[in-house]
Amino acid sequence: MTEEFRTSKPIYRQIADRIIQQFVRGKIAPGEKLPSVREMAIQSGVNPNTIQRTYGELERMDVVETRRGQGTFMTEQIDRKKQLRIEIQREMIETFIQNMRGIGVEDKEITEAVEQFLAGKEPSEND
């Protein structure tokens, strides 16, 4: 099935995010060749122009590299991968913290809750 897209972000960005995620998770190896624009468009059920933009964006971010006549390749720089991992981490933490604050949890409580969670304990009522 064609993938669903969220409405809040342009589709080209969402596909770029997905490629970065797959790269960080190791589903796409460094230096691996990405599908052609047409193939990727068919896989995702989107307009090829959108994929063109996705690849352009990724190239600008130094995540992929387009070699003339050969196609688009994932970056081979391990440092870049590490950076991306940190960036994604930051984004996730940011969302998490915002959500926690949104329901009125104080920062101190958040760290405690995270520590407890990691230690395998149930969150306790601390009021």
Partner: protein
């Protein structure tokens, strides 16, 4: 390129289109949205040379659209188009004989892609299969303009998905101008570049699909709903 210049179509007192001016650029994919009776089909039939404007003009590739425009326009109609007594193969042969730009190679690929049975009669095919056959007949043409009038009508989500994939796989992007009218926006939205809302024969709104998400955080469906509030 397709251009409607102040086009009005009257059926007696009823106006199917009222002073519509629109331009469709070469190589882009457009969606025409709107409720039944909004004038979508009338507009498509005009661009296909099947209906003539009461006022104004419809220009396709620099030529006023009349019957001979079928040379440049491949038109998928929501009704008719395939003959119940003919088989898939016979329909393909008929289209190949009628249109110089019909590619039998493409048709062969599309038979596979659409998983159609060559010797099955149209009358014995399901609605989904007929819809796929119609798309095959249109996509096999290397025509500069493709007009798809309600290609999803009465088809289930799986078939709609196949059709969207078929479009992405077989359209010559940047070369062929494609206009699609539809009620079922969800599947087709990621393929569209621009969308136009028609309502009671008038252009109500127009947008760039990606810009809409970027600037307003809306999908075309949400935008459509907002326009009707």
């Amino acid at each position: 390129m397709i251009e409607l210049r102040n086009v009005t179509k009257e059926y007696g007192k009823r106006k199917a289109l009222q002073d519509v001016s629109l331009q469709f650029e070469k190589g882009k994919i457009y969606g025409i949205l709107g409720p039944n009776g909004s004038g979508k089909s009338t507009m498509m039939k005009m661009a296909a040379g099947l209906v003539f404007p009461s006022k104004g003009e419809v220009i396709v590739n620099g030529q006023p659209a009349d019957r001979s425009i079928a040379r440049d326009v491949a038109y998928l109609s929501s009704e008719g188009m395939v003959y119940p007594g003919l088989t898939v193969q016979q329909m393909i042969e008929f289209f190949a004989a009628q249109h110089k730009d019909f590619s039998l190679e493409k048709a062969e690929e599309l038979i596979q892609f659409m998983s159609l049975e060559r010797h099955k009669k149209v009358a014995k095919m399901s609605k989904g299969q007929q819809g796929r056959l119609k798309l095959l007949l249109v996509l096999s043409r290397k025509a500069p303009v493709l007009l798809l009038d309600e290609p999803f009508l009465g088809l289930d989500p799986m078939v709609r998905d196949t059709i969207v994939k078929g479009l992405v796989s077989f359209i010559d992007f940047g070369e062929q101008t494609v206009i699609i009218t539809t009620h079922e926006i969800t599947e087709i939205e990621p393929v569209l570049e621009e969308a136009v809302i028609l309502d009671e024969g008038m252009v109500r709104a127009r947008c760039h699909v990606e810009a809409l998400r970027e600037e307003e955080g809306l999908s075309v469906l949400q935008w459509l709903k907002r326009n009707y509030q």
